[in-house]
Amino acid sequence: MIANRHGSGASMYFRMLRRAAQLRKGQAAAALAALAIAGAAATAMLNLYVDVQVKLRKEFRKFGANIIIEAKPGEGFSPDAFAQIQSAVAGRGLAVPFAYAVARSDKGQPVVVAGADLEQVQRLNPWWSVTNWPHAPDQALIGARAAQLLSPDGKPFTLRHEGREIHVSPVGTVRTGAGEDSRVYLSLSDFQQWTHLAPSVVELTASGTNSEIASLLQQLQRQLPNADVRPVRQITEGEARILGKTRLTLLSSASFIVLTTALCVLATLTGWVVDRRRDFAIMKALGASDRLIALFVAGEAAALAAAGTILGFAAGIGIAALIGRINFNAPVAPRFSIFPAVLLGSLLVTLIATLVPLRLLRRIQPAMILRGE
């Protein structure tokens, strides 16, 4: 419309924008900096807020199994059933079968012996305090309390189960403060050769949101109607609670930070517009309409906002990645999907910050401003 009225309106408009940026480099830079900072803060906080759940879930998986599958008493899992479990959790978790038996030591002391793939146990339960993991056959990992009774000096010992004997040498002790301290752990193949018992418990650690875990539970219950599939409520409920509170804290901190930086942008830009009232008065005196001036200021502000957001977005992703690397030893993946939200937010703030004071200035006669009143 402007172009219709004045032949070179559009080119004049852009020349004004360009010259304004050149002539008032300092102030434009301050406004741009404020916008970039606000953009960086918003980007970093949003990115962290979205990502922290993934990061903390990974930490929570170190708690060990969150699902336990138990066979009917007296029964074990066939390799077929275990393969079904494996395929259900493929790619998002770890399933470790455990076989248990009560054996007797030389002195007739009853002791629980467990058979499991110890390399997988190490991945499942990284909190176990183990002096040395066994690697060779006939080597055993024994609980700290069992060690005191069975092999106080670390010598090999014999275990008896239903008339069959096994001779094991302890290579390391495990300390957890729970039932594991009273057990002897053997590799699954040693255990099965000795007792001919199949695994009766599968411990499963699966990552995912609550609904993903719930659907995995249902799937497993459907596939294994004879087994008892249950979530470890202690772990799942504690996790949900900590996660929820952390995200709430993060969200409230994020909103305060973004609000503060946005208000500072508001203050910076308002000052910037008010300071240029003489320019606008001259434009008006030369015949520019209120609308043209508003359009000019809005264009300028939008260009600043866009540039500031791009700079800030890049910086914000960097900050989030840095925080992720320092705190979680893994970078926070940049989420480009939040860019439109950040851009929209900063455009909104800039337009409010520039057009509102402009409206106030419009009421004043150009002559008064030019006379310095």
Binding site: A30, W127, T176, C264, I323, F328
Partner: protein, 417 residues
Amino acid sequence: MFVRLVYESFHRQRQRKLLVAIAVTLGATVSTAMIGIALGIGDKISHEARAYGANLVVTPEEDSLDVQIGSVNLKPAASGAYLDESALPKIKGIFWRNNIAAFTPELPATVQLNGADTTLLGTYFAKSVKFGTDQFTAGARTTFPWWKVRGAWPDDDSQDVLVGEKLASLLNLQPGADLKINGAQHRVSGILSTGSAEDDQVVAPLPVAQAILGKPGAIRKIFVSAVTKPEDAFARRNPDSLSPADRDRWYCSPYPQSIAYQLQEAIPHSRAEQIRQVAQNEGNVLSRITGLMLLITLAALFTSGLAVSAAMATAMFERRTEVGLMKALGAGHASLSSIFITESVLLACAGGVVGFLLGALLTREIGREIFGSSIGVQPVLLPVILGISIAVTFGGSAVAIRRAVKYDPVLALRGEA
């Protein structure tokens, strides 16, 4: 003259000054709130982590091995040592007593139920324990918050019992039913669901289990849920090998190890250990969350500092003509700078104090809203916030002041700078 100039500047440009003051106040508010949250969140999350239940366990010093697979306890009833129930209140007498969030004793007994061996677990549910003048409610309800009961929790002095949900469906029991255990009649007050071994067990008040075993006053284990600090290299040191000063520091830090050590001192002939699954992982998650909040706080301090500086810088640019006039009247660089510096410091102090108070209020409310208990902000933080505010305002105005001082007064007065 100097005082009048500063006063007049505030008096005449009230709106402009107000804008800058608001920016400084907001920055100080957010800084205070973030620092307060970052320092307080460890304690709060540790309280939340009590949802994981006990992180420490106390067992008899000389104990035989546990022989338990799943829910079936195969430990011979006669074997093993016991702790003394009367020592329990002493738990609330240790140095870190206020960090003990919950505790409960346990005494398992094997009973015949429907022709099968079943474990009956004796424990407290919500029993009032007295140490000195302190009243404390101990029991499974607070120690294991994930235990859920359909029906009612039994009274600690009654003969009522809870039946695990799997056992209940096996025996076809409903809340209110009668159950014969070792010849004695008990009322099933509720069905218990825990998601672990207790689902196959009977859980009864402690005296019931003691009567079945014929061992009044005996308990097998104490589960303790304590608010702790994540362990570090210092926590893992052996207290007996430390120098007296270090030992005091170790003893007076709420590490899982030092609380376990104190429990061991309080309960005779006992051994206290951390339950590593809970204690270790909790410490791990805790240090991640506190680390995250600290880093975010740093980032927040930095960004709000810069944002306030930018607001300050624009406010300074506007005063070119004023500077020109003062210079034309003969003001030197030093006096000009001191006026502006005084102004910024005044603004920073006012904004800092108001911001600190608002921030402390905000922190308290966030704590109440999210964690159900307020997070306190230490008054020690005030000078820190004031220092940061002054540095930020000063940093923001420094460039502008330097430029303003350098202007040619003629150009500035004609408005051409």
